[in-house]
Chain length 215, copies 4
DNA sequence: GATGAATGAGCTTTCATTCAT
DNA sequence: CATGAATGAAAGCTCATTCAT
């Protein structure tokens, strides 16, 4: 009995693994249940003993990530205190604060997180990415208002989307989680700097010739 | 029965319009010829009198954009002279140069350009985006080498992808071409600044507390 | 006007030529009117100005051959007097008689005759070959009865079919009409000999050891 | 609704039977999977649970025959020892040798063999017949060279084709395997005699008037 | 005479899903 | 738990043919 139970888990894991690959490669709508079952070494009908529909299978795959993500959204006020960063202009300070923050996060930089945001079209999760982007944008806009930056509100959504998009690209392209986190830190720094430049430049203070490094 | 239209161009345009919508919404593979025909108010078989295959229809849609794009790639040495921009640290100079460049381009910032790059999976154009990103990345890497910037090579591809992604998002979200070009200019400036900050910060010169705007 | 008339004939001939090729290569059912029109350098609709249906086009192609063939069937009593051949055992006599007969026939050994018999399935001519085979078989059976040959009635149809089949193969494989007629003569002689051998062997008279050529 | 059959083999056999009929009647290209499914009493989609494509269904039908056929081709040197036949001029000897040979063959004289050779256009088997004819022709040519028979090389292919064609006609027209084999023996004898007559007549020795049976 | 437009039925194949065993 | 059987809808595409211009 225990052996059978074990066997069941093994197949279940194989199904999840292959589903992950399939959804990742083709997206939800274009993914084929047939293919998942075949690659997992079972039949379609048996797969339906494990998950009652294609969407249920997808849900099983991204449920944890989605909940973690929701938790993050709801509690970001507590976690997310990098505002102090703005008080310093030293990029090394920024990097340290950001590193602490990114590394303190639960393991959300996973392939399944990528799937949740990028491969969920056709499911009830398809709005997650849009929601997240809007959420980020609102954050940006708050900052902009605080900093008195005007004239860039339209770019907020685009920047949020690409900032998130870059994070997802890193997740997609690199397998090692440590490197993923490292690259994400650098990538976000890159955006911070663009953002900071935007603000400073608009106040006329930076960049200016005097700040050019002596070649 | 005796309702006749007899305006080939009209139907052809309707087909192209609906195809544009369909490919834009669902991507090539998931787009349905049946749907396009139905929405264009004709039958599948008649649509096949206009375009001999799904791919031919797609091609008709993006051919011009693709050729314009190839022309741009081949002649960018001639067009693309913003290197002088680097000699100035004044963001208004950058903006002016970039505006001149962006507004001098032929009308490539179209929905069809978006489709060419973002909805072409399954066609022979599916590598266009990857190719473009690699092309941009090589440009970035050259600059990085010239500027002696190290340690960011891995991010090159990601940044290129998101820079392009942002442009495509703008195309996607805004209908008015003038505004599209305006936002693209600002968006690229944003990236320039992130990039510049990356370089300067690595030389330790910027940002520094003295550059903070007085609140 | 006359020029137009000329033009019409030219196109008509092109249509017939291409139809001949198409029907020959694919048979009636699998032939494509589209292909014929395209290869003839016109449109489908225009082709329908010349022939009111696929079958009408086929009919135009084989009508003459069919009538010639029917004439042959109806008057074969008059033409077909090779019975004297049986009175001689000299193959050179047979060959001469057969040559005279074959060369006296109107030009029925044409590609269109081949089409009529071998590519007409799906048309109202599809029984022509069967009919011809049965007709030949009846001739054979008459001869068999006359000659007192028994026990081969079942083979009659098969032999008739293959005798005709061979003639059609020769038409199919050789373009030059003279060579076609020559090969047909030899081929029929081959069958005559098989037939003669059958008869003689059944009477026990041939072949026998005494007839072996000294090696 | 609750009518259940649950005998996979039964349906499978029905499918194969109906496929046999359909391919036999219309040839591969013109056969309709829809029709096969309908006649077998199931749906198209279910048929695709049994065979993954039209070609796979065809293959299932002719695979054994094709392998048997290939085995025959590869081992005909061992089996095929009728050369001794040529040493005798007694047709009864020929018949006995041929009977032994034909009846020793595995059951290749089936409707499916007919389908393999005559209804396979459009499949990867479509060259089988041509290959077989060429193979037979080479045999004939060897004999002709050995016997010093000249001037009939062009007929070789035609004769081979019709000899095979006759065998296939017999298979097509007769259901009883014993009778099929019997008729094939007689039919091949018929060809042997035509062939023998050709040789002898060319040496001038036969037929001659003295061999005429007394009426 | 010639053409483009249009039609409806057909094709092979894949899809997610259900159900009795 | 596992499987084979079955389904209906949809996919891209081709067919012969018709008709107004």
């Amino acid at each position: 009995m225990i052996v059978i139970q074990y066997k069941k888990d093994e197949l279940n894991n194989r199904i999840l693994e292959e589903a992950e690959k399939e959804f990742f490669e083709k997206g939800y709508e274009h993914a084929s249940v047939r293919q998942i079952a075949k690659r997992a070494g079972t039949t379609i009908s048996n797969l339906y003993n494990y998950y009652e529909s294609k969407e249920a299978l997808f849900e099983a795959l991204v449920k944890d990530e989605c909940e973690g993500f929701q938790y993050f959204i709801q509690h970001h006020d507590t976690m997310d205190k990098p505002d102090e960063a703005w008080e310093s202009m030293d990029i090394r300070v920024w990097r340290r604060i950001l590193e602490d923050f990114i590394h303190s996060l639960p393991p959300i930089f996973t392939k399944r997180f990528y799937i949740l945001l990028n491969c969920s079209r056709g499911t009830r999760y398809e709005e997650t990415k849009t929601f997240f982007i809007r959420f980020m944008n609102e954050h940006f806009l708050e900052h902009m208002d605080t900093m008195g930056l005007k004239g860039f509100r339209e770019l907020g959504n685009v920047i949020a989307e690409q900032m998130l998009g870059g994070i997802l690209s890193i997740i997609r392209d690199y397998a090692d989680e440590k490197q993923v986190r490292h690259l994400i830190v650098e990538y976000i720094l890159f955006f911070f700097m663009g953002y900071m430049g935007l603000m400073l430049s608009n106040t006329g203070q930076w960049p200016n010739p005097g700040a050019i490094p002596a070649k």
